[in-house]
Symmetry: C2
Subunit: 144 residues, 2 copies
DNA sequence: CTAATCCCTATTGACTTGATAGGAATTAGG
DNA sequence: CCTAATTCCTATCAAGTCAATAGGGATTAG
C-alpha cells in the first residue's frame, strides 16, 4: 500500500499539472483545494523540491510549480520520493539495490526471481504513467 | 517492500515444497535449517495454517506439511497472508476492496487508474509463480 | 519596513514490526 | 496410563514508522 504522504503528493502535483501556466501556487491554496493538512503538505513539497520534481518561489507571492514538464514526472518518480523503492525486496531494487541481510546465494534464490519479475512489471507501468497522461485523463472525464 | 515475516514464510514453504514426500517437518527443524527465530516461525506457520496453506500434526512426531499441492500455492497467496493485499491502494484491491477515505469520485480518479494497472501487472506475475515452479528453479540451479 | 510566504527542526501519539515468554492442549510411544 | 515431544494460544516488549502539529527562521514583493 502507498502511504498517505504519497496520495497527498500525487494530488498536489496533479493540481499543479492541471493548471496550464507555471505561475506558482501557494501551499495554503493547494492544501485547501485538495483537503490536505497544511503543515504536512509543506513537508511533502519540501521533499519533492529536493529531487527537482517541484520548484519553489519564496517570499510574498511565492509558491510552488512543477520543476519540469508534466510528461517528465512519472508516478514512479513521485512514489520513490514519498515511499522509497518500488521493489518488493532490496535485492531487486534498481534505484536502491542492497543485498538481503540473510541471503545465502542471490543468483540461486527462487524468491528473488519472482520478486524481480514483479518489480519489472510494476516499474514498467508506473514509469509509463506521468502527470501529463493523468491530467489528460481528468480532462477527458470532464473533471477539470 | 515485503516484510521479514513474508521472507520467513516463503523460505519455510519452499523447504516443505522441496521435500517430495508430505511427512510433517517440525518447527524446530525448519527454524534451524532456514535460520528463522523459532517462536516467530511458530506464529507464522499458525497463520499459514488458518488459510489452509499448510497443515499441522500435533503431539509427538508432529510438524507441518503443505496444505495443498505446491503448484496451487502461489507467491501471491503467501504474501496476502503475511503482508495483506498486493494492491497499492485499497480502492484497487480485488481481495480486500475499500473506498479511499477521502476519495472524491472513484471512477474519475487518475491516481486510481495508474494504481489499478500496477496491481494487475503485479498480481499477474505473483499469481503465476508458485511453490512448484520455485522449487523446480532451485533444482535446476543445483541448489537442492 | 512589513506582511506574506517558504524553510527547517523538533515533537507527538498511534500503530506496526520483529521478536520473546510461558504455559495449555494434544498425541506417539513405552 | 504416563511422559516427553510437539503444536496452539495469549500476552508482552522494544524499536521503528506514519501522520500530523508546533514554532520560529529566512526570504522577498510591495
Amino acid at each position: 500500500m502507498i502511504s498517505q504522504k504519497a496520495r497527498y503528493a500525487l494530488r498536489a502535483l496533479l493540481l499543479l499539472a492541471a493548471r496550464g501556466d507555471s505561475t506558482p501556487v501557494q501551499i495554503s491554496e493547494i492544501a485547501q483545494k485538495e483537503k490536505i493538512p497544511r503543515k504536512f503538505l509543506e513537508a511533502i513539497l519540501l521533499e519533492l523540491k529536493k529531487t527537482g520534481i517541484v520548484r519553489s518561489h519564496r517570499g510574498r507571492q511565492g509558491g510552488y510549480s512543477l520543476g519540469k514538464p508534466a510528461k517528465d514526472i512519472s508516478f514512479a518518480d513521485v512514489l520513490r520520493v514519498t515511499d522509497g523503492p518500488l521493489a518488493l525486496s532490496p535485492c531487486v531494487s534498481v534505484m536502491a539495490y542492497r543485498k538481503c541481510d540473510d541471503c545465502f546465494e542471490e543468483s540461486v534464490c527462487a524468491i528473488r526471481k519472482a520478486l524481480l519479475a514483479a518489480r519489472d512489471a510494476t516499474a514498467q507501468i508506473l514509469e509509463s504513467r506521468n502527470l501529463a497522461t493523468a491530467a489528460a485523463q481528468l480532462r477527458r472525464s470532464g473533471a477539470l
